[in-house]
């Protein structure tokens, strides 16, 4: 974008325009004290009093003005609000304005001109209705300008809106064809400096009937110049008058538009020649300005609400989807495209747990990473937004077409989790009223620019601005995510509690099973024995075989119950961690098993590291794995190898050349009582061994898995945390 001149009218900004010490000549001004004694006069007071100002000081006001006509005598009435009022001095009808400035009273008098139009308020009321019925802002502004033009007769009436940077744009205009149009033109902020804007906010209507007026001093000169902020006759800055003259303006009037306490803009009126505006018309304009302000506030509010409602609908859909997802992070990643729709952006970047997901038109991953680094040191609490990123973060100039606008939402106060929305550059043409250049200085003072010819500028590096509704939407998203995370956490807590309860149930069940279920089994066993003893002579071979089967089943049932009890116990006992020499444990087991399995070659191929674990349980792990490796094996010779590799931070393994396990059973072999073979094949067993092994390893923070090829062999791997 074009570089604006550095605060070009900084000196204008310092000019004390509220204490000029002079007034415009179309009226007179008298300063008096609370006792009604006059002290200072505008030098033209003689027109009214017939005596030179020097002769007037110290005399009571009522000598010149019938003060009984003043409205100020009623206690509690603000005389400013009653102004203008009519007074009659020696048969001359005048309009009077009264206000207080510090300890002084100020009365300003102008000859009354024009008829007292009784229909004025009706016209204003009708115009206000017209504003309300306007379908949009442009129409409203046009109607505002047209009504003021009709009411006052100014050649050109403009609705001038201040931007956030206080530069102005003419958003509505009504003009006499003879004058040039400024509609759509922009004016730099320095055209109306800060202290002028402050006066506009205090004094809602200013009139300069003739820009070529001769200022009238207030005499005698006051030791402390009186503050004329509230004055209607106050003399204006010579720079401003020159500015108006350069624009070809002979008379001007402006009406302040204050929306929600902020100077929103002005209704600015220009006339090529000098022009007086009757006090009644000015009062009507002021009242109309109030109505215009209210209507703008109302329309803005409606627009914000409508935007918010639209954003709300999109959000609701998005949140619905989010709420159905189990994992908020996954959901956000998966629905990144919806994030775009959510805020009407061109691209998004989602950074969660150190991983960045990009969607749509975004800067490159490296550029986004650099942007995250930069954001880390910015104030993002929890939102950072700009429609001109490159101005605050120059590297963004490289990718303005994708990210001239940025809205960053920080999802966590501690972790660098973000959602970023990018908006592309909007190439805009701004028409300035006059080329932007440094002001000239000559004969010891500043001069405003001479040309107000339209001067177009291409603006770069800007995106569509982020609206207040969009900020609110982003905050609501954050709240929704937080609420979801909270709900998930609560859900998880309740699931954990449920799991805990189930574990206790399982424990209780296992205990009950171990005792109460075993009791009838014992009874069956006893009665089988009694039958054998008492009826030995009556039992034939077949009967004895059936009794043997009953005994066998009873014993197996009891083993299952014991295994279940043991399994449940592994899950709940306190681990007794200590340094365990795995070599020693494995060698002892090999020694034991070699006795009962002389046909198996057990071999420890590596030196196993010592681990911090529960010794008894480690022994159980290897005993189970080695027993299985030897048992489910029909090779000759049967080989079982025990080893260790540094993979995964240290992995133990038990490899055999056994029957192998089909891939589809890799998971299920670890389930309790899951047996892949008949009860009697491979020496029976309860089917709890691997479930117990898995439970032990998981209790130690490790994991177990297997690789196998049916007919070739299996390898069980496990880690310990």
């Amino acid at each position: 974008m074009t570089e604006l001149p550095d605060d070009p009218f900084a000196e204008c900004g310092q000019e004390p325009i509220h204490v000029p010490g002079t007034i415009q000549p179309h009226g007179i001004l008298i300063v008096f004290d609370s006792n009604g004694i006059c002290h200072h006069f505008s030098a033209n007071a003689e027109e009214l009093t017939g005596q030179p100002p020097a002769a007037l000081a110290g005399r009571p006001l009522q000598e010149f003005i019938p003060v009984q006509q003043f409205p100020m005598r009623q206690a509690g009435v603000d005389p400013t609000m009653q102004s203008p009022f009519s007074v009659d001095i020696s048969g001359r009808p005048l309009d009077a304005w009264l206000h207080q400035s510090a300890n002084w009273w100020v009365v300003e008098l102008e000859p009354r001109i024009g008829p007292d139009d009784r229909r004025l308020h009706r016209r204003v009321a009708a115009a206000v209705t017209g504003l309300r019925d306007a379908p949009d802002f442009p129409t409203q502004h046009l109607r505002t300008a047209r009504f003021v033009a009709e009411l006052t007769g100014f050649d050109r009436v403009m609705v001038y809106e201040f931007g956030p940077d206080w530069h102005g744009e003419v958003v509505g205009e009504h003009r006499n064809v003879a004058v040039e149009s400024y509609l759509g033109h922009h004016f730099p902020a320095s055209d109306i400096p800060a202290q002028a804007r402050a006066l506009y906010a205090r004094n809602r209507l200013r009139l300069i009937p003739d820009v070529d007026y001769e200022p009238v001093p207030i005499v005698p000169e006051m030791p402390t110049p009186i503050d004329l902020s509230q004055s209607v006759l106050r003399s204006v800055s010579p720079v401003h008058l020159e500015y108006l003259r350069n624009m070809g303006v002979g008379a001007s009037m402006s009406i302040s538009l204050i929306v929600n306490g902020r100077l929103w803009g002005l209704v600015a009126c220009h006339h090529r020649t000098p022009k007086v505006v009757p006090a009644g018309i000015r009062a009507a304009c002021e009242a109309f300005g109030e109505a215009v302000s209210l209507e703008i506030a109302h329309r803005q509010e409606t627009r914000t609400l409508r935007l918010r409602a639209t954003a709300g609908r999109i959000q609701t859909r998005f949140f619905d989807v989010l709420a159905r997802e189990h994992n908020v992070v996954d959901a956000l990643v998966r629905y990144t495209p919806r994030l775009l729709e959510f805020l009407g952006a061109g691209g998004t970047a989602l950074r969660l747990n150190g991983t960045t997901t990009l969607h749509g038109a975004t800067p490159s991953p490296a550029q986004v990473e650099a942007l995250f680094d930069w954001l880390q040191v910015q104030e993002v609490n929890p939102i950072f937004s700009t429609d001109r990123l490159a101005e605050v973060y120059p590297p963004a100039a490289d990718y303005g077409s994708k990210a001239s606008g940025l809205l960053a939402l920080k999802l966590s106060r501690v972790e660098p989790h973000y959602v970023l929305w990018f908006r592309p550059e909007v190439l805009a043409t701004v028409t300035w009223a006059g080329k932007l250049e440094k002001p000239r200085r000559s004969d010891g003072r500043l001069h405003p620019r001479k040309s107000f010819d339209a001067w177009s500028e291409r603006v770069h590096g800007r995106s569509q601005p982020w609206t207040e509704a969009e900020h609110t939407g982003a905050l609501e998203l954050l709240q929704a995510i937080n609420a979801l995370v909270l709900r998930r956490t609560e859900h998880l807590l309740s699931e954990n509690a449920e799991l805990e309860r189930k574990n206790i149930d399982l424990h209780s069940f296992a205990y009950i099973a171990a005792h109460d279920l075993k009791e009838p089994l014992r009874g069956i066993s006893h009665y089988c024995a009694f039958l054998r003893e008492d009826h030995a002579a009556d039992l034939n071979e077949e009967a004895v075989r059936k009794l043997d089967t009953i005994d066998g089943l009873v014993r197996h049932s009891e083993e299952l119950i014991e295994a279940l009890n043991h399994y449940s116990r592994i899950g709940r006992i306190e681990l007794s961690r200590q340094p365990v020499e795995m070599n020693k444990i494995v060698d002892q087991i090999i020694e034991t098993l070699s006795i009962t399995n002389p046909d198996v070659e057990f071999r420890r191929s590596d030196c196993l590291p010592n681990v911090d674990a529960d010794r008894v349980l480690m022994r159980e792990v290897f005993l189970n794995l080695l027993t299985n490796a030897a048992r489910y094996n029909i090779s000759s010779p049967k080989r079982v190898e025990i080893g260790w590799t540094p993979e995964h931070g240290g992995t133990f393994f038990v490899r055999d050349n056994g029957i192998g396990i089909p891939a589809k059973h890799y998971e299920s072999v670890f389930r309790i009582f899951r047996r892949l073979h008949g009860n009697t094949e491979f020496g029976g067993g309860t089917g709890a061994g691997l479930a117990i092994v898995k439970s032990i390893i998981e209790r130690h923070g490790g994991r177990i898995w297997l690789e196998s090829e049916p007919g070739v062999g299996s390898t069980f791997f496990f880690t310990l945390a």
Binding site: K518, E519, R522, S525, H526, A529, F530, E562
Partner: protein, 134 residues
Amino acid sequence: MKPPGNSVLVVEDFDPDFELVCRRLRAVAPTLQVSRLHDLDEIARWLDHPEPPPSLVLLDLSLRDGDASRLLADFRRALQKVPLVVWSASPDPDVPRRCLASGADRFIRKVADGNAVAKQLDFLIARWVLAPAD
């Protein structure tokens, strides 16, 4: 050497287990008197007047109205020299140690194998009833 005792107190609420005990006692010592208690209430009443003292107490822990292990110490106090044998199906590996610490002389795990239990009972009777050591 003491004369052989003539009674055994069996605390057991499960009939098949009680019957198994009776059968073993009848088989090896037909003259032995067997008295039976079923629950904690009966034990408490009996402990008030533990007469005549039995030659052996066989105590099941899990009774219909609660766990008898807390009465072990009372048994020990009431019957100072009488052998106290706990037999239980409790799966808790810590139970035997606790019972012995509370005064039991022996712990037998009940299993669903009539022959194994019978052998253990035969041994107990031989060891503590028929030929009690000093």
